[in-house]
Structures are given as structure tokens and as C-alpha cells.
Symmetry: none
Subunit: 461 residues, 2 copies
């Protein structure tokens, strides 16, 4: 029996017990955004520390200005690589509670028929079920071989669902402790039940609040309309000018650093079978917006955007008011890809707005966010090894996908620790994370443990 296969057999044999441990963790209502659950957050952190100690980790609850971090270290064989495993033990609030079919903090196994069983409860998928995969994979390695195949540091955060306010400072203050050869993040999804996925791209983000000011007070549109500048017109012009007829963003220099997606990647994404109908249908839409002649997956995974997220000005309540507003407000964000520079794009946007102001108007900006995109080279050894390991475990070969949103921790690992992140997770699109009746497939929990056991072996080989 090979070194790895005995570990996999131990995972199979321990499945019931690993479920029992996950249930214990789910029962702790560690809702990070609600101060009423602060003690439960700490309790979840302490539970994890205690469990990691039983496997031989040097584990501690580490204080932050908010909820504590769980940090645990375990040495590996001489010369073996060192990985940092990231997950989060906090969960989303559970309201509306009346839509839950059972107590969110009373986990259970539900049989969906056709051989499919799921674990129910808040955090079963996001992210308690996923972070325990690291723990169980290491436990099996230790049980069978008395050692891990590589050095492992665990970092489990307690504020991911409330914006990770303490993370950056914590990483900066402890950078030496967390620097590793790679970060492994388990907080994403599979492509489908049979197909594991590596999320190799995440878009960056630049946000700007814009306030355009014209007259020194609100004006009567009869008295002044036609002669006085209307800041809503200026704002509409700015926002309309951001895109041309082909859906491209018109900001000068915006596409600097944007690379065309390689044909083989586009072909791979085509193979995933996503169409405008399957992608937009569930949200009631049919026509892809944005740049023409690109697939919906390319649009959200590999193309940058300019989006107006909010707008306000003048009278927008019930009825009508013939007013020319003194000011108009918008929130605009840009999703970035590849090497687009958030600093340059923010500056270009500000120039773009100023160029559309008449001489007697003014503008105020307020920045939000500002993170570059994250890309993991498809041909890197990290990706190659993980891909092979996942393909060995699952019915279908692993696919490389991207995500249109941002996972800030991957950006922090890159900028603060200079480290690439391997994003592999076993959630499924129907897990209802952040919603009532969250679940995690039992196959995700079982084969997810086996997947990480395989990846740890592959990275160490």
C-alpha cells in the first residue's frame, strides 16, 4: 500500500468521527457581525485550537482588535515545502430564521435520494465544512505516518463575514511567521458535483464616490432651468461616457495591462457549457451586457468593468418636485484584471470626471478599496500538481476557473507575504451560503478531505 493510499483509507474509516467533529463546530453560533455572538466566536476559535492540539499542532488563540485568529504550526520533513492553510470559522447571520427548515445550529445529515446526502446547518459549507478538510487531512496523515508530508501552518480567521477588519494588520505584524511557499485557501466552489476546480483568477477592485456640485442651493427648474448647470446632467454625461457602443470602457489607459485570454483557456471555458441563457436566465436577463463577442464567463472572469453601484440626487421621493439639485452623487467601481494598476485607474477616472465639469462646478471624490487582480499562472508547478491530485480523486478532471469577485485575503497574502494562493474549494452552487438552509454535500466533505490529503502529498513530492 502506498504512502498516500493508506492515508486515504484512514480518511474513509474516520468519516463518521470527522462528521461528529464538524457537527460540534457547527453547533457553536459564531456569527461575527453581531456583537451578541462574540463569546461564541471565541468559543469556536478555542474549539479549533483544542482540536489542532490533539493532532500535534502547536496551536493558539491569537488576539486581534476584533475576533481572535486561530494559528497553528506543525513541522514537516527536512527540505519539504511549507504551506499556509487559510479558512474562516465565523459564519453569516441566520435571519430570516423562519425560512430555515431546521435550527441552523443543529447540524444533521439529510438524504436527498439518488445516493446524495448533505450536511445541513449554518457554516456547513461556508466555511466550517471547508476548513475542517485541512484539519482532517492532516489528522489522517498523522494517524497513519506520525508525520505530515510538509510543514503546515493553519490560519483560521474569525471576521471574514464581516469584512476582515483585523486581517491586514495581523499579517503585517506577523509576516515572518506566515511566510510560506504557498497559501492554500479553501473557501471556493467546485464547477459541479463531479468536477473539481482551481480558481486561478480573481478580479481586483477600485471604488470611487463622486459628488458633483453646481449651484449653491437647490433651484426651481422653472426659474433657472435652461440657464443654470444641472449636476445630474453632468453626472449622467460622465457615467454614460464611461462605455462606448461596443461596451468597452472609455477611460484613457484603462486597458493597459489587460491581456487577451489565451485561446486554450477560452476553449476550456467554452467546454464548461455556460451560455447566456444558463448564466443570465436565473436572474431574469437574456442579453449579455458589456463587451461584444465575448462569452459570459470571459466577461466576468477575465475582462475589466466599470459599474455604477449607486446614484442619488435631486428629489426622488413620492410625487414630483421640479428642482435643479445643488449636487449629485454616484458610487462607481471598476473590476480589474491582470496587470491593471488601481492607482492609475483611480487617477484616470478623476481626470475623466473633471474634464466634463463646467468651469463653475466642482467635484469631490472619496476612494474605496483599491486592489489589483490576482492571477495564478496556469502552467505553474503549484497548479500542475494540484490539478493532477484533484483529477486523481474526482470523476472528472479538474478545471481552471476564475471568479469575478474579490477574495481580499488572497490579495493580502500576495502583497504582504509575497505568496501565491491556491484556491481550491468543494462548495457547490446550490449550497445556499449566506441564505437559509445552507448545506454541504457529504461527498464534498469526504472527498474534500481526500483531495487535500492528495494535494499535500503532491506538493511535497
Amino acid at each position: 500500500m502506498s504512502v498516500l493510499s493508506s492515508v486515504l483509507e484512514a480518511i474513509d474509516a474516520n468519516l463518521e468521527r470527522s462528521l461528529g467533529r464538524l457537527f460540534e463546530l457547527i453547533r457553536i453560533p459564531s456569527i461575527s457581525t453581531d456583537p451578541a455572538f462574540a463569546k461564541d466566536c471565541r468559543r469556536a476559535a478555542e474549539w479549533l485550537v483544542d482540536d489542532l492540539k490533539t493532532i500535534g499542532f502547536e496551536a493558539n488563540v491569537r488576539e486581534t482588535p476584533g475576533h481572535p485568529m486561530v494559528v497553528a504550526h506543525h513541522a514537516g520533513p527536512a527540505g519539504a515545502p511549507h504551506v499556509l492553510c487559510y479558512g474562516h470559522y465565523d459564519v453569516q447571520p441566520v435571519d430570516p430564521l423562519d425560512l430555515w427548515e431546521a435550527d441552523p445550529f443543529a447540524p444533521a445529515i439529510e438524504d436527498l435520494g439518488a445516493g446524495r446526502k448533505v450536511i445541513t446547518g449554518r457554516g456547513s459549507s461556508d466555511d466550517k465544512g471547508q476548513l475542517m478538510l485541512f484539519v482532517e487531512a492532516c489528522r489522517a496523515w498523522k494517524q497513519v505516518h506520525g508525520a505530515l508530508p510538509c510543514a503546515v501552518t493553519m490560519l483560521f480567521e474569525g471576521e471574514e463575514e464581516s469584512g476582515s477588519p483585523s486581517l491586514k494588520a495581523f499579517l503585517e505584524a506577523n509576516a515572518q511567521e506566515f511566510k510560506a511557499d504557498a497559501a492554500l485557501i479553501c473557501d471556493t466552489s467546485m464547477w459541479d458535483r463531479d468536477t473539481p476546480a482551481i480558481t486561478a483568477g480573481l478580479r481586483g477592485l477600485v471604488g470611487e464616490e463622486v459628488t458633483v456640485r453646481a449651484a449653491n442651493r437647490d433651484l426651481h427648474s422653472g426659474e433657472f432651468g435652461g440657464a443654470a448647470a444641472n449636476p445630474l446632467h453632468i453626472l449622467a454625461k460622465v457615467l454614460a461616457d464611461l462605455h462606448d457602443e461596443t461596451g468597452r470602457v472609455t477611460l484613457p489607459g484603462f486597458y493597459a495591462g489587460v491581456e487577451e485570454t489565451p485561446p486554450e483557456v477560452l476553449t476550456m471555458w467554452e467546454g464548461l457549457g455556460q451560455t447566456p441563457e444558463t448564466f443570465l436566465g436565473p436572474i431574469g436577463l437574456a442579453v449579455p451586457s458589456g463587451e461584444k463577442d465575448r462569452s459570459v464567463l470571459e466577461l466576468v472572469w477575465a475582462r475589466p468593468t466599470a459599474e455604477v453601484n449607486g446614484i442619488a440626487g435631486g428629489y426622488a421621493g413620492q410625487g414630483f418636485k421640479t428642482v435643479i439639485a445643488a449636487e449629485a452623487h454616484a458610487k462607481v467601481s471598476f473590476r480589474l484584471v491582470h496587470k491593471q494598476d488601481p492607482v492609475k485607474i483611480r487617477a484616470a477616472f478623476r481626470d475623466f470626471v473633471r474634464a466634463r465639469l463646467s468651469a463653475d462646478c466642482s467635484v469631490e471624490f472619496n476612494p474605496h478599496g483599491g486592489s489589483p487582480a490576482i492571477h495564478l499562472a496556469h502552467d505553474s508547478p503549484l497548479v500542475g500538481k494540484a490539478k493532477a491530485a484533484l483529477t486523481d480523486e474526482w470523476p472528472k478532471p479538474a478545471v481552471m476557473i476564475a471568479a469575478g469577485g474579490s477574495i481580499p485575503v488572497a490579495g493580502e497574502f500576495k502583497t504582504i507575504l509575497g505568496m501565491d494562493s491556491l484556491l481550491v474549494g468543494f462548495g457547490l452552487p446550490d449550497d445556499r451560503i449566506h441564505s437559509p438552509n445552507e448545506k454541504y454535500d457529504l461527498s464534498s466533505f469526504h472527498k474534500g478531505q481526500r483531495s487535500w490529503a492528495r494535494i499535500l502529498a503532491a506538493l511535497s513530492g
Copy 2:
């Protein structure tokens, strides 16, 4: 002592008491556009009916589908003419409330120095202060002579600030009751503190609320941005497209029926000495917006406009939310001149919006207002008598002007009752109507009462 001068003396003697009555009326927050104030609107109507009864009017609160009308009749001497006096007892909303220096509904007298006193409070000028001029002029006539010089009907509306939705049907249903020799409307301004004005032209108004809908729920801009339609983008495009680079409105057919202002009228307006500096300076602006190469007075008195009065959509609160909104909302109004047809312009605007929607988006319209422009011949007897009466009262002779605002009732009086309207009002450009800190000059309130007492005499002579 002449018949008229004793009336004028009575007005002077009663000034304090007339102020007390106006303050009572201002204290009623009769904001017509906000349903929360419906009871206050009715209270204002009842207050006026009670007051008119004390002068001997047969006065009633008359129901409409919206806020009630105040209708009051008083006979005149045999053979004397019959005039219909119009004003409105409803007021504009008061937000932003924090910009008011005092409670908008706690009227007071403020001494600005140099012999100038003003009445402060919402409605002090628009239009409670102005409609009470009719009431006080009639009161003085009754007090001194026990009679009015002509038959007088009062019609005070409660929905002027919310588009007069009930007015047309009410006039149509009661046309015989309201037909008179002329309508007197007190809802306009003087040229300056010394120069009374007859407003011989008024722009018409078409208002539209537009709601553009895209996805069936708010979306995460990371997950869907770049592929899903953003209704804020569509709305910005619609609104930006409404004007070309020369400031002209681009709606097809918009300028049909618009006449060039005769050179002699332009010359008369030039003589009023208004420049971009004098017109825009007080509101903190310098550059005339709208069509190029036209004077500011021509822009607001004789040219049509398209104005965005309000806009809302997505997240516009504190901080940032990377959302793609499911819907976006705007309020747009058009000021009309000469023979522009409100029905055609509303239809053209709706087509204009629909042409900019993608196939999977929808739009909902909600109409407000819809009145053509009004023009009164400068050489009519009505104008001649009023002009002489005003010139007798004020330091400088009365001037003929136009107004950029709309007074839809003047259009209804013409089309439904076949009656011309004499528009004389005593507001001043710095009254801040529709804005925080509205005021009305005490001299307007005092000499305005005297002016109407004189005009009633002049029209009866």
C-alpha cells in the same frame, strides 16, 4: 377721501392682524406631495374657508380625488365684472431640513437691516403669502365699504406643488361656476423690489417619472458585472443623450411649435439689464448652461428645456456596496414654450427611452403635469388697467416680463374656461421658494394687498 384711498388706509391699519393670519396659515405644514401631510392639507383648506366666511364669502371645502379645493363666492355691484382669483395653499417639501435656519413651519419676521423686513417660513412666498393678498384686499374693501367693487370668486388649490392632478377634472365639472371675465393669479414675482411685473408668458410643463428595470434582484457586481445589464447605465445614457453639445434638446420633434422671440421683445428684455453675472452670480454659478448664444432671460423665458429633477438607484448610503441594482429611477421634466404640444413631447420622450433599452430590460413611466405654454397679449385692456394700477402703487412703473416656470392653471383657465389670466405676483428672486429658508418681503405682503385692492378697483372702473 376717495373710495380707493380709504381701502388702502384700512390695509395699512390692519397690517399686523393680516400678518397674524398669514402666520396661522404658514404653521399648517400642507405639503401636498407627501401623503403623510394629507390631514394638514385639509386643515389649511378649512382654515381658509373659515377665514373667507368671516369676510362674507360663501365659502366651502370642495372634495377632489386628492387634496380639497377652497371655493368662495362674493357678489359685486350690478353690472360690475366678475373675477376669479387663484392661488394655492399647498407647499413644497422642506428637505433638506438641516439647511433651514429655523423651523420651516414656525413663521417669523426677520429684520435684514436697511429698512427691509422679511417673513420667513415654508409657503411665506409660494404661495400662502401671495394668496392671502387677495383675501386681505377683499377684507379691507368689505370693512370700509361693506361691499366689493366687483364680483369675486376665490379658487385656492391644494395640489399645485404636486402637479395639480385634480384641477382639470374639477374645472371641467364646474365650468359654469368658474367662468368669469378674467382670472387673477398671484403666484409670480416682481422684477425687483421697486418694480412690479405682469407676467405675460409662462412656460408649459411635462413631467415624467421613469423606472428602468433589469435583473429580477440586486446582483453582486463581482459575480455578474460585465455580463448583466446595469439599469443605472441605461438611465445615464438616456439622460445624457437628452442634450447635444450645443445645449439643444435632442428629442425628435421637440422644437416643433417653438418660435423665435421677436427682436423688439429681445430688446425690451435686454433693457432690464440682466447678465449672466447678475442672473447666475447669486446662485454661485457663472456659465450659462443650455443653448448657446442666447441671453439668460431668453433661455428661461422663451426657450424650452429638458431637466433631470431627481435620480435614485443602487446603494447611495454611507460607505460602499458593490451592487448592480435591479432598477433605476429618474424624474425628468420639460419646460415648453409657444405651441409645443405636451402630449407629443411626452410620447416622444417615452419612445426615446424605449429605444435605449436592451431587449431584456423594461421601463415604467408615471406622468406628472402636462400643460402648454401661456401668452397674454401686451396690448389687451386687462393688461393696460393692471399696469396703470401697479404703477400707481410702486416706486417704478410696472414691466411686462415672462416666466420660466409653469402655472398650469393658467393653461386650464384658457382651454377649459376660455378665459385669460392676469399674472401679477410680488415674490422676489431671492425668496428661495422650493428651497430651505424661504421668505417673503414684508413690503411685498403689504404693498401686494394694496396692489390687488387697486387692481380690483381698476378692473371695475
